[in-house]
Symmetry: C2
Subunit: 232 residues, 2 copies
Amino acid sequence: MAKPKTPKPVVFDDPNYLTGVIDLLGVICYGEISAWERLAEDAKMAPDLKTKVEIGAMATAEFVHFTRLRDRLVEMGVDPYEAMSPFVTSFERFHKQTGPSDWLEGLVKAYVGDGLASDFYREIAAYLDANTRELVLGALSGTGDSEFVIEQVRGAIRENPSVGGRLALWGRRLMGEALSQAQTVVAEHDALSSVLVGSVDRPGMDLAGIGRMFARLTEAHTKRMEKLGLAA
Amino acid sequence: MAKPKTPKPVVFDDPNYLTGVIDLLGVICYGEISAWERLAEDAKMAPDLKTKVEIGAMATAEFVHFTRLRDRLVEMGVDPYEAMSPFVTSFERFHKQTGPSDWLEGLVKAYVGDGLASDFYREIAAYLDANTRELVLGALSGTGDSEFVIEQVRGAIRENPSVGGRLALWGRRLMGEALSQAQTVVAEHDALSSVLVGSVDRPGMDLAGIGRMFARLTEAHTKRMEKLGLAA
């Protein structure tokens, strides 16, 4: 194996933190590859080549993030596919229950999912060691590409206002499913939740703090829906 | 529009050469985006996540090449989607007539197509101005990723030798279709063929030279098939 490029943070001496970080990288890693897959699938529904390319650019950004996270896991001496495996079911369940029935639903899902993931990365970054934080924040870049979605969705609603009601419901369903899967993931992985909650030596969020984090995520979701011209 | 980063080559004063280069970039550009699309589609058939990621890496390399070519066209003041449009039919016809019926056929198509495209880029690079040459050669990098295909195909033949005969036929069909579509494209685009053939001021290949180029491409294809353990 190649010599690790990243020095081992002292905090990795806490085995519980280390397990939690591996879980965290595994869950984000699988999230990225599964987002790549869904976006590439959605691109097929694009009404023209230019729009297909916009979705392709989002998909490609996800794939690049995936490779960075995977390479970091390898550097840490962890099999990335093993680290991802506990989270496959949750993501596949989410995607199965939120399969877009048309192009617009796919667009809204891409936008809402991308935004929610970015917000979540920003929230947890504060509780990570510097190296892991940098990596997780790096998975944010390129997500601004999804801004083109606003135009497309607003245009579709202008043409046919009834679309707005349907997509508003869709957005609510997406957020509901995402939160429900996220809760299951955290509940089933103690080490992962302890990264957020902290330990004696490493301060984290208390339960009220976690509650406030969820409130902030929901608020940001509402703002995103408003940008699309949709009631949250 | 942003200031062009690439100085305008003197040879662009020849309007026929310029049209030919725009055609060439358009055809490669569409080739890359359509390869991206097919690879992302093939990835779904992958037997495991690790193999899916290998195909995803190939797809992502194609997308990155696509964006470089597209950006160069924009820099040249050309609408990239207009430049691509004359070539859409040929590529779609090729892909329609060579839709893989299973995972192994998809792998062989990716490998053979990727190799053929790279060889072709190398062949034509010699007849291009320095800036365009660099761009076209840049579209080669990352294609070595497809080497993992060799293992997969050889493994499948070891397990079931009859697979070898079927895939050999498949490889011949791919090459036949590719050459036939390529001939149509060149025949229908005078400026494009004149980039290869040259003009009074700009030496190119004569007809015999083009014949030799096709012989070299076929020979390289045979070697690739042999690497996969297949008769060409």
